[in-house]
Symmetry: C2
Subunit: 390 residues, 2 copies
């Protein structure tokens, strides 16, 4: 893949979400290196308008569906492109070198594939894209000679550890997990957990969906699937180990037995910057994006085995990943519904894996599915998990 | 520097010492990748003869001085070349691609420079070489386009972390230290330590000189000086942190704040293999050179600040390194004598830094010394430290 010169021109899908806002922080910290050329968001039109004023992108888009947001859009951003066409225009903007795919859920899948087809480097924050359609995305990336740069601290860590290394020398990817807020909770305790408790993540501040996925360790299962696709490593050579302080973001063990790991205080800013600046590193000593680690004050790093019994979502994700085909799409769809129900207080935390397991059991897997088959399976699972009754 | 093909042909200076023997273990484990073409050792003629029988090198040399060893040499290895000429012949053997410089003390300096001049890749285990003559060795390596591969777990770790990275992106080298057997001992306790106590290193099994240097943290100071030369990083950007388990062998902090570290169970086999096989990694799953780390059973890694007050040898090394010129040669010479006196029970452990400090204070530093000036300063300091009386 060609190495892009600086300044690199960036399009952001999902600019008002957590990753989107932090992407713009990175651009702000490195104005010589990055320019924003296109922004897309959904309902937070006020923030999108503010971002448009600050960065003067050539194109703004919103696929807002909320009536209040639509009214605001007409008022604040009359020039914005609308709907999926708007997202696709941002994803394929001719001036963009890099597309940050940071929408949540399924909506990013089509624009990401469009960006790949348009030859853009992809900075990928949206897990669902690779989990559900890894076979399509990686094949398209190979076909168009496009790099997929992970915006996920674990995969960014693996990516960094693999710089200058021969992929054939990988023995194992070792993905670290904080263990989430219920690392030491019993199954009974977890069954009684409230949404407020589950939203208190010990080390990372993130959106609500991913925070719940972190509490159930679904998120870690999705990361294993992502890792499988990004690094082309079979599932039996991807391990997960709990590292509660979230300082070691992942490790690679090589065939000679040497292990490399990447560390920092938890910071999506660093991960985003790494994806945008690769293979160059940009100096952060003059900004406040990342507080450096001070080793003597770190004092200790703990490691624990992951207790799969207490985290059935992790097991289900691995089973779906290994099964392949439409199974991961069903996993993602059922999880999306179950987490939403949990956040609304309608089901308990342990009902999330139960709903997913029922959806996976009821689904007839289609092998090597095209994009429509993937999306159909996901939509089916969303509905199934909403209505399934024991 | 040209990448050498396999099999790589190896000459070993110091083949009967700890690093030399482990180098031959690595060759034994990877017979398709490595061939021994020349071996040199000092007094352990019986072992040298055994190695010669096993590996059939084209050349064997010994610079034995011990009369019994000389008699054995005539008997067991009549074909062996003798003295410094023998070492130089091994170091410059026309068939050798890589010269492992694993003699102890000063003796390796001249053969190493000769090997560099002959265009050999240097796998450098001898610390004194870079500490005393880093300016000469690195200039010669640049002139002859030769790579200096460190055989020292810390520098090997730094080297591995820097693969694929731009040296300009280094913010800090962070060298780890086990802290040695007296990590938590008081100055009073250390003053009363016996040689037997000091020889019990908590995590590494090594020769006596380096084990005492590890107990006083002189070894860590020498490693900082080595790191300065190997990676061309100024002293104020090299830090030391105590990592008592000796699992993390060192780290690099980059300008963006990201940190990479290398880990394994303590193993010189791995470090030697890395130096010999670079940039390729060779599979160790079929041999017993290295027990892999099992993360969940590692449980924890601790980090502590280094207490410079209790380890004056570390401070003296850094002062000598920063001063440059002949100061590091004086440090090395005085330390060699003082450690020998300590091992013979003639002085206490804390008299080691006292003798070194007196030698450094009495020495008039010569800037940018040539090899003779370096060796003269070292020999002077050896004598001075032996005879100095308070």
């Amino acid at each position: 893949m060609p190495m892009q010169a600086f300044p690199r021109r960036i399009a952001v899908l999902g600019s008002t979400g957590s990753i989107g806002r932090q992407t713009l922080d990175v651009v702000r910290a490195h104005p010589q290196q990055f320019q924003v050329v296109a922004l897309a968001a959904r309902n937070n039109v006020a923030l999108l308008a503010e971002q448009a004023r600050e960065f003067s992108p050539a194109l703004v888009a919103s696929d807002a569906e909320d009536p209040a947001a639509l009214a605001q859009l007409a008022d604040l951003l009359p020039q914005a492109q609308r709907g999926m066409d708007g997202l696709l225009a941002v994803a394929t903007h001719p001036d963009a070198d890099i597309v940050v795919a940071a929408t949540s859920g399924l909506i990013g899948l089509r624009p990401t594939l469009a960006a790949i087809a348009a030859g853009k480097t992809i900075a990928l924050a949206n897990k669902e894209t690779l989990v559900m359609a890894g076979h399509l995305v990686m094949a398209a990336a190979r076909e168009h000679g496009v790099a997929i740069m992970p915006i996920d601290s674990e995969h960014s860590a693996l990516w960094q550890c693999l710089r200058g290394e021969d992929p054939a020398a990988i023995r194992k990817l070792i993905i670290t997990a904080s263990g989430g807020p219920f690392r030491h909770a019993s199954l009974d305790e977890m069954a009684r957990v409230t949404a407020a408790q589950a939203l208190r993540h010990p080390t990372w501040v993130m959106g609500p969906k991913i925070t719940i996925d972190s509490a159930t360790l679904m998120n870690k299962g999705l990361e294993v699937i992502e890792g499988h696709w990004l690094f082309d490593v079979p599932y039996d050579r991807i391990e997960v180990v709990v590292q509660p302080q979230s300082i070691i973001h992942s490790m690679v063990e090589f065939i000679d037995g040497s292990i490399k790991m990447q560390a920092s205080l938890p910071s999506m800013h660093l991960t985003i910057q790494e994806a945008l600046s690769h293979p160059q590193r940009l100096d952060n000593s003059g900004n406040d994006l990342l507080r450096p680690l001070d080793w003597p004050t770190v004092v200790r790093l703990d490691f624990e085995a992951l207790d799969i019994e207490r985290f059935p979502c992790f097991r289900l994700a691995l089973e779906a990943g290994r099964r392949g085909g439409t199974a991961p799409a069903v996993l993602v769809g059922a999880d999306e519904t179950a987490v939403a129900l949990f956040l609304r207080g309608e089901i308990g935390l342990m009902e999330i894996p139960a709903r997913i397991e029922r959806a996976l059991a009821a689904h007839r897997v289609i092998d090597d599915p095209d994009l429509d088959a993937v999306l159909d399976a996901c939509h089916w699972a969303r509905d199934y998990a909403a209505h399934s009754l024991l």
